[in-house]
């Protein structure tokens, strides 16, 4: 794609809208949708697609953050603690990517995504959060000095209180998610959301919102590397980011009204798509680039 036509711009915006909506709703950056769509459908260079995807991940995080932080849905303290491990993993992952083969990395990715999808599927019908009858506030909050908080769930019509448990589980998975993010150029929210939900007993909506906060920080670090190396094409990344902003806004507006099981099922389907894509790459079936 050397000359960018109005049709190309429309296609880039359309891909961005789809990725932004899905990413905002389930707490991922949308990179797993953006990269294959750019490479296969639009013929964009793989590394340019990854760089553009990282810009889209940031756009998703910033847009969702402008909505979620106002509602108190995202637990920023929890996100910051986990982000310590994520950023360490991202640096280590970037360095490891120089040494390991892409096919090996893709195989690891496929296995992790498939395992997580199956684990999520098993737990999809067992909500663990405790619904408090009394409606104290229509907004959520965090407790100072702890990883606890609460939020008003529109779907359930009540206040949901939660307390983060087993921080070491969240840190370990965040470290791995950061490593994969650094190696493969995705947000890593598809690992962090189930880790927070199933491993730390954080409600799925809080986990998704917190993940959106986190992936922006992680992707921001990575995108400067691509910027420095000349893989950011503004007229490819920008319309994509605009589409993601629109899609993320729509996703953030509907997240509070969606049923938790529906949100989880969307995440499961997304993970299965990722597993298939990465499994094919691991087997030597190139999907583009």
């Amino acid at each position: 794609m050397s000359e960018v036509s109005i049709g190309d711009l429309a296609a880039l915006i359309g891909v961005g809208i789809a990725a932004g909506w899905l990413g905002s709703l389930v707490g991922i950056g949308g990179g797993i949708v953006v990269v294959p769509a750019l490479v296969i459908a639009l013929g964009v260079d793989f590394r340019v697609a990854v760089a553009s995807s990282l810009v889209a991940v940031i756009a998703t995080s910033v847009t969702a953050g402008s909505v979620y932080t106002g509602t108190g849905l995202a637990n920023l303290r929890l996100g910051m603690v986990l982000e310590v491990a994520t950023t360490i993993g991202a640096v280590a992952g970037g360095l490891a990517a120089i040494l390991l083969s892409t096919r090996f990395l893709a195989g690891v990715f496929a296995g992790v995504a498939l395992t997580t999808a199956l684990y999520m599927l098993r737990g999809a019908y067992r909500p663990r959060t405790r619904l408090v009858e009394a409606v104290v506030s229509a907004r959520g909050w965090e407790e100072t000095g702890t990883l606890a908080g609460a939020y008003f769930d529109e779907f359930r019509g009540g206040l949901v209180r939660y307390r983060g448990e087993r921080v070491q589980v969240g840190l370990a998975v965040s470290l791995a998610a950061g490593g994969i993010s650094g190696m493969l150029g995705v947000g890593g929210g598809f690992l962090k959301v189930p880790a927070m939900n199933l491993g730390m007993n954080i409600p799925i909506k809080v986990a998704s919102a917190t993940s959106n906060f986190m992936i922006g920080i992680t992707a921001a670090a990575s995108v400067f590397v691509y910027f420095a190396r000349g893989f950011v094409q503004p007229l490819v990344a920008a319309p994509l980011a605009l589409g993601v902003v629109a899609g993320s806004w729509a996703g953030a507006q509907t997240a509070g009204k969606a049923h938790p099981v529906v949100v989880k099922m969307i995440l499961v389907v997304t993970l299965l798509f990722v597993a298939l894509q990465m499994g094919l790459r691991s087997a030597g079936v190139e999907i583009g680039g």
């Binding site: 910033v62 108190g72 605009l242």
Partner: protein, 111 residues
């Protein structure tokens, strides 16, 4: 344990919104310029040459992307400040650590 004051999340929300609005405005102006002036070519642009390389449209759109990319880092700095003022030193320290690691990551990327 007391709840956090609501002003901190609102301040963070404002940073996200200002960063988003600035970035989107610059991107829209740059894309419009590119289409109107016939400069709509997909060319790479480096961080070091953001203000000198490429067409005017590339630079404006590139600056929009830069603002978008800097917004999460500004949020972390604002959170550290907010938590430090609240006396929530443990989480403020986590934020400082994240900023330090981000700086390290950028340095490694440019090396």
């Amino acid at each position: 344990m007391a709840d956090s004051p609501a002003s901190a999340p609102r301040g963070i929300q404002a940073i996200y919104r200002v960063g988003l609005m600035l970035a989107v405005c610059m991107i829209l102006v740059g894309l419009s310029w590119a289409l109107l002036r016939g400069e709509a070519a997909a060319v790479p642009i480096r961080l070091g040459g953001l203000l000198t390389a490429g067409s005017i449209a590339d630079r404006v759109v590139g600056l929009g992307i830069l603002i978008l990319s800097l917004t999460p880092a500004v949020v972390v700095i604002a959170l550290v400040r907010s938590w430090w003022r609240e006396g929530d030193r443990r989480f403020a320290a986590s934020g400082v650590l994240v900023i330090a690691i981000l700086a390290l990551a950028v340095a490694v990327g440019h090396a």
